[in-house]
């Protein structure tokens, strides 16, 4: 083999030769002192060149996180969460329609019984001061009445078979929920008065002891607004005018008087048919959101709890049926019925429909005390 050229020596030292080529080079160097010397020279040259390049290196800094040119918008926009919410809404509609129509039909049949059951509940959960006005009527032997109603609810009408099953299970849960509520302070119960109104309505026809909600609802229908809103709202990003906000809510949105209004936005929140956010500047660097929401007829909480309850009462196979096949036709039928009933209910809203409960809340980078203080100052926003 002829002598090894510089390029091959460098490639050898850079470990960029194939194994065969490397063996050739090593074989030659082993028997050629001249090339062996050159190999060492080139090795020193490479080391020196690397050293020099090292002198001309940038300061060794930590690798920063990747910064893309156009970062994702930080806000999770409404249309990004729309698909999952659409599924949730379907479930809410399906179950909700069942809850709404089932009990109503039964209520029409037996209004007097409902009244009495509710009174019984009042007696069992409310302090004595609240009870006396109902006390006399509630003694009219509620138990036999419920016993006679039990078969009616379970055997039910054929067309509502699956719906009735749903309802009885929901009622079980509603019972639990309301028991839990009863243990909480009255104000906390008030927050969910609307939810329990729905739950309370369906507890009455089924053969389970009805508890707290009914009496609470009686108070709540007179209370126009309750404080505290559960859950996170998502801004649509589109500002609305005060008039639009008023049309959405059916009343004036709330705001802190004397603070400049930066903007009024429509927002979405599960369990609310309309949510309006009024952004107000507290000072040059702090802004607060005043949220006025109108609660929807149904709340997601009721649906979620309902699903959980089925594990107690339904067989797995049954549950699958209820969850998928059985629920589908029911939901469609329910949606139709709901659509038909909508105008009627809209007219009825002018009366004292409990769905008109308004909820408002102040949010912002402030202490809970400050937020509470601001909340106490809230007034309807007028032009």
């Amino acid at each position: 083999m002829s002598h090894v050229d510089d390029g091959t020596l460098h490639a050898y030292l850079d470990a960029e030769l194939s194994p065969v080529q490397s063996q050739d080079v090593e074989a030659h160097i082993a028997q050629c002192p001249g090339c062996r010397d050159r190999l060492e020279e080139e090795r020193a040259l490479i080391a020196r060149a690397d050293e020099l390049l090292g002198l001309a290196a940038p300061p060794d800094r930590a690798t920063p996180p990747f910064r893309p040119g156009d970062p994702e918008p930080p806000v999770r926009l409404w249309w990004r969460v729309r698909l999952p919410l659409a599924w949730a809404a379907t479930v809410v509609l399906a179950l909700g329609a069942g809850m709404y129509f089932g009990p109503r039909a039964l209520q029409r049949e037996q209004p007097a019984v409902d009244q009495r059951t509710g009174d019984l509940a009042a007696k069992s959960t409310l302090p004595p001061a609240a009870a006396p006005e109902n006390g006399a009527t509630s003694r009219a032997a509620p138990l036999p009445v419920r016993r006679t109603r039990a078969p009616a609810a379970t055997s039910a009408v054929v067309e509502r078979k699956s719906g009735a099953k749903d309802k009885s299970m929901e009622a079980v849960v509603a019972d639990r929920a309301s028991t839990a509520e009863a243990a909480r302070p009255e104000t906390a119960v008030a927050l969910r008065a609307r939810d329990e109104r729905a739950a309370g309505a369906l507890q009455q026809p089924v053969p389970r002891p009805a508890l707290a909600p009914s009496p609470v609802r009686a108070d709540q229908e007179r209370a126009p607004a309750v404080a505290g809103m559960v859950g996170q709202y998502a801004l649509t990003g589109s500002p609305v005018t005060l008039d639009s906000a008023r049309a959405l809510l059916g009343t004036d949105p709330y705001a802190v008087p004397d603070l400049p209004v930066r903007g009024i936005y429509r927002a979405r929140l599960i369990g609310y048919s309309a949510v309006v956010v009024v952004k107000q500047a507290l000072d040059s660097s702090t802004a607060i959101d005043v949220i006025t929401g109108r609660q929807a007829t149904l709340s997601l909480q009721a649906v979620v709890v309902t699903g959980a309850a089925r594990s107690d009462t339904a067989q797995p196979a049954e549950r699958a049926l209820l969850g998928r096949a059985a629920a589908a036709p029911d939901s469609l039928a329910a949606a139709e019925r709901r659509a038909e009933a909508a105008p009627v209910r809209a007219r009825g809203a002018a009366a004292n429909r409990p769905a008109t409960a308004l909820v408002f809340e102040v949010r912002g980078p402030l202490s809970p005390d400050s937020l509470a203080a601001l909340q106490r100052r809230l007034q309807p926003l007028r032009p």
Binding site: D6, E16, L55, R61, F66, P68
Partner: protein, 167 residues
Amino acid sequence: MPDDLADVYRTTYRALVRFLYRKVWDAERAEDLAQEAFARALVHKPAHARGWLFVVAANMARDDARRAARERRHLTLLKSEPPASAPPSDEALHTEGERSQVRTALEQLTPRDREVLLLWDSGLSYDEIATQTGLARGAIGTTLARARRRLVEAFEAGRTGEHVARG
């Protein structure tokens, strides 16, 4: 960022900054350009991200050098006084002196030799360098041998010249 590009970023970012630094001689600028190259990779999704990044970085550095040269011409007209700042320490001066000597030495290499040397120093293999520069793979060793020798010679020559001038 796709996973593979995230990996490339983790393994190649410093090398790309190093590569760019020897072209623009400004650490901040080199990092900005490296970030920009990765941002472009995110959009273009090249099949061979690593090699692609060095091509893009080399192009950006060239454009940047042209722009910088243009700006320098304007600045020399405007700048009459040196910027008022704390005098650098001896050590810093020494490091800075060596850096500028290496820079001067590098600039005496032919563009092709310099490119191959800088790509190798940035961690690219002979194959990658061949793809990048259009040279035959077998020529990379020879080019590198020449580039290294010239770099060392130019550096030593610069030093000797400095000593002679001082002496």
